[in-house]
Symmetry: C2
Subunit: 319 residues, 2 copies
């Protein structure tokens, strides 16, 4: 069996790292680049990584999606704020029935891809990763990196179980998992994407939001009695929101989320970096979608809604 062919849409801190790992392992990887296209074509892609430094030349780089060949797996590494571009970017690499792996933050972020290629060809995943783009074609991966992914199911079937995975998607998921692990990326194929996503939202919602609204690092939040009490209240609310959506997360995860954050080195969340760099923030993916999902299930996350509305105001005025 031939190795799967990969497309990377959005070859930044995340897509660039994972694409480079696959390319180094001998996979055929096609990178779609925007501002860095000329630089990477001439000088290659440089990745300083805890998994070993790489400088990859002669990569398959593309300035537009039209020149990309059909691939088995198209990895979405864009921010969700760029999802309006997907209608233009996805058709070429997915032309022969390949699947899409959406490695974006938030909830129901796969819906935009599914609207283009269909519900049955989409995986979603969460990355536990500290990586930054530090220059043109230059990525610095400083910690973690695990991917946990699963088959996407539309919101209407969010509570459904593994038995509804179709056999073809299970087979492809297992192959992707094997590919990434063989390339040195610790990867897990889960039968419950909703659980994976809500579990990560328990961190992302409080700490992304509060780091922007309070202009604080994770350490500043956890060291303050009021800010940490608020963070805990939000973690609990998200845990309850998940339950309302039929996603049962062990209650110990509440304390574990806080405890892990207390032990983290002071960290700027991705949303805070977006804010400081005056980029649009992923308020819809990370707060708006979970808020609406819980509300449709009859549960009002009023603290999350407060943070969401504050972030939207800040987003409107941060330009």
């Amino acid at each position: 069996m031939n190795k799967q062919r990969y497309a990377i849409i959005g070859a930044g801190a995340l897509g660039g790292l994972y694409g480079a790992m696959l390319a180094r392992q001998g996979f055929e990887v096609h990178f779609l680049l925007h501002s860095d296209y000329e630089h990477v074509r001439e000088h290659g892609l440089k990745v300083d990584s805890i998994w070993g430094d790489m400088h990859l030349r002669d990569l398959h780089v593309h300035a537009t999606a039209e020149t990309m060949p059909p691939c088995d797996v198209t990895v979405i590494g864009l921010k969700t704020t760029q999802n309006h571009l997907l209608a233009e970017l996805l058709p070429a690499p997915t032309a022969d029935g390949g699947v899409v792996l959406v490695l974006q933050n938030g909830l129901n972020v796969e819906a935009d891809s599914a609207a283009i290629v269909g519900d049955k060809r989409v995986f979603g995943g969460c990355c536990f990763l500290c990586s930054n783009k530090v220059g043109p074609g230059h990525i610095r991966h400083i910690d973690f990196g695990k991917i946990v992914f699963g088959q996407y199911r539309p919101a209407s079937s969010a509570g459904s179980t593994a038995t509804q995975n179709d056999a073809r998607m299970v087979s492809i998921g297992n192959q992707i998992c094997e590919d990434l692990n063989s390339a040195g990326v610790p990867t897990e194929f889960s039968d419950n994407l909703a659980l994976v996503r809500w579990r990560k939202l328990m961190w992302n919602i409080p700490f992304n939001s509060l780091s922007v609204i309070l202009n604080a690092s994770t350490k500043q939040i956890m060291d303050d009695p009021d800010a940490s009490a608020l963070a805990e209240a939000v973690v609990r609310e998200v845990h309850a929101g998940a339950a309302a959506c039929g996603v049962t997360i062990p209650v110990e995860m509440i304390e574990k989320t806080l405890e892990n954050t207390r032990k983290m080195v002071p960290y700027d969340s991705s949303m805070r970096l977006d804010f400081l760099n005056k980029r649009a923030m992923e308020a819809e993916a990370i707060l708006g979608n979970p808020l609406r999902a819980a509300k449709e299930s009859g549960y009002e996350m009023s603290r999350v809604e407060t943070l969401y509305q504050q972030l939207r105001y800040i987003d409107h005025t941060n330009s």
Copy 2:
């Protein structure tokens, strides 16, 4: 009957204005001054007011409370963040059984005064006032000025009715009301202080808080769809919190509060001015006390709690 003698504790933008109005009308008014004592003793008190400019010399000014004579009415014009000073400041002017009129923002802010002079000698009131101290002994009163006050009752009897006013306090309250009106200060003596206070909290809680947390004027809040939706949600929550505490505010007041704010000239709340000047904010009086009162009555104001915790964090780091 002799005219009532007044003491003004905290002769700033509020106490200075009302004290000057009473002094101009011929009442004997004793001002307790701190940083401005020498200036006012030498140069008098200057008030530029929509009610007519005044420059009052030969006032009764005091640098310490000990030199103040017993007065019939002691007006508290300090910020609640200074209430720890009351134990030292109240005994002299209230020595002969005079009453205290607490003109501070928030809820249950009379408790600190009542702990010193007793529950049965305290009035509380809300001022609807735009006034600033613009220099030593110099106050600029630019709009509004009405006082609505009522007899204080401890939290345990917050829902009690007018019939429980004791006759002596009703008589004194009527006299204070008459004095202030005769001096040109529009004043109303209410038989329901809790209603007056919660009604004002419907504005103070959302707009003081959000003006600091979002670094925004009232106009910026009301012009933004998300910030104004949040403000409305908080107004509704405070309205419900009042109801839980047995205080029924007509539901039309929700829309009226928002509508009045939309029509206001862009305005910096007192809390925002405190924040910008790196002074302690009145988070306890304005948010903490109502939050706890509602919680004791079984209602959780989770949006208000979120704002309260955010303000406390900001307060801790704003120095």
